[in-house]
Amino acid sequence: MLEIHINSKKYQENRVIENLKLEVKSSEFISIIGPSGCGKTTLLNIISNIDTEFLGNVLFDKKSIKDVNIGVMFQDSRLIPWLTIFENIMLVSNSKDEESILEALIEVGLEEYINSYAKELSGGMQRRAALVRAFINKPDVILLDEPFISLDYPTAQALRSDFLKFYKKYKPTVVFITHDLKEAVSLSQRIVFLDSSPMKVVLDYKNKNDFSKNLESYEIEKEKDEILQKHPNILSGCLN
């Protein structure tokens, strides 16, 4: 279980987060939706232990988060530009097992780009490399900061299905930040809606659909509309 307890996080004099309590079961896939500037990225930085200047604690299975294997995917791939794709993944790999890195790269169809630099790859390919990097240590927790945006539709779709493939294989706990309610409904098992200043949970919604449903399917569309109809007031602030 991932337990996020933040008593207070200030940015200069701004109270960004106050008394936030969020618990995510092991292997659960949750989405976080909230208005721009409500502190989602701050929250992710806290969970990933980049930001340690807050009051509270983040635990995974009772262990401090700094001792937990974490994988991340961002809006940009954040591959190190002066390292090849292979070196990028080797650098973060705990086992330094070349074989398993090659296997994972083959699995996402990057076998021809092992020795290429990031800039030689298309946006979609870069993010698939970042996907391999995120999973290479079989992490307990995966954090996603809108990794599927600014890609064309088929590329984003392919990346989503690659992600689900890895997710089902390694079963990490996933915290997924998105602006797209349909994406949240189709991928995750639970959606947490946030509001800002300070950040608070306005709705904690359990998905009806299994995450394997197609993004464009009727069920997803229907569930999305149901959420919007049932909670018109609380949600107006979250989705923009």
Binding site: S48, N49, I50, I70, G71, V72, R78, I80, P81, W82, L83, E87, L91, V92, Y117, K119, R133, N137
Partner: protein
């Protein structure tokens, strides 16, 4: 072909020099061919190689020490605001003290020794390295440092694979300007207080008004620096920028 262009430009300078010397026709402006002859003489009969070796040795020692100290201070100043604030005024002073003053003071305080000579060169060079490397350290991308943090990459790997590669272009820039600055200062240091090296020889030729030898010695040294630049520094820089 860049090397071809380089050869042509050197050839043009030579022809221009030769014609000018023939036109002026005075003892104080020797022709290119006279200088080449003199260079050949000093190489085969004189002590050019011995003094060249000594000077190059001094250049190498001061270069590596100054680069090491400069990179270290530059990274610290670029990464930590507090250190930057404390050392900044000192840096501005160090940048503006004339090289000649440092050299004279070092000789007076530490005697006419090799240590004093090398120290004077290092003190002159370090501030310029600091300024360039500090600029590099300031441009280090936090997003890549965060990747290192999230994936718990070891300190050594973070330094070698993520941090330093971002500063390499700045280190290379300061190495290239550094080399040309250092050898000029080394010559002055030798001229003022050493009894060996190219600088010392130049002062001897100056006393005998031997302009041809002065130019031959300078030419020898410029050739060596050009070779270092072409076959060591440039390839290194190219390798560091391969991914761009």
């Amino acid at each position: 072909m860049p090397s071809q262009n380089r050869f042509i430009s050197i050839l043009v300078i030579f022809i221009f020099w030769q014609t000018l010397a023939l036109l002026i026709n005075t003892d104080t402006f020797p022709s290119a061919i006279d200088v080449l002859k003199s260079l050949f003489y000093h190489l085969t009969q004189g002590e050019l190689l011995y003094h060249l070796g000594i000077t190059l040795n001094r250049v190498a020692i001061t270069f590596f020490i100054a680069m090491f100290i400069g990179i270290l201070i530059g990274i610290l100043m670029g990464s930590y605001k507090k250190i930057d604030n404390i050392l900044d005024s000192l840096l501005i002073i160090a940048l503006n003290v004339p090289a000649l003053v440092t050299i004279i003071l070092c000789y007076i305080w530490f005697g006419l020794t090799d240590v004093a000579a090398l120290l004077a060169v290092i003190i002159n060079k370090v501030p310029t390295v600091v300024v360039t490397v500090r600029e590099g350290a300031r441009t280090v991308e936090q997003k890549y440092m965060q990747i290192a943090q999230i994936y718990k990459i070891s300190k050594v790997d973070t330094l070698n694979r993520i941090y330093l590669p971002q500063i390499y272009p700045y280190i290379m820039a300061s190495a290239r300007t550094g080399l040309s600055l250092i050898w000029k200062i080394v010559l002055v240091v030798e001229l003022l207080g050493r009894s060996s090296g190219i600088g010392f020889e130049l002062s001897m030729f100056f006393q005998f008004f031997d302009i041809t030898s002065i130019m031959a010695y300078s030419m020898a040294f410029i050739i060596v620096i050009l070779l270092i630049e072409t076959y060591i520094l440039r390839p290194l820089e190219k390798k560091a920028n391969q991914w761009r």
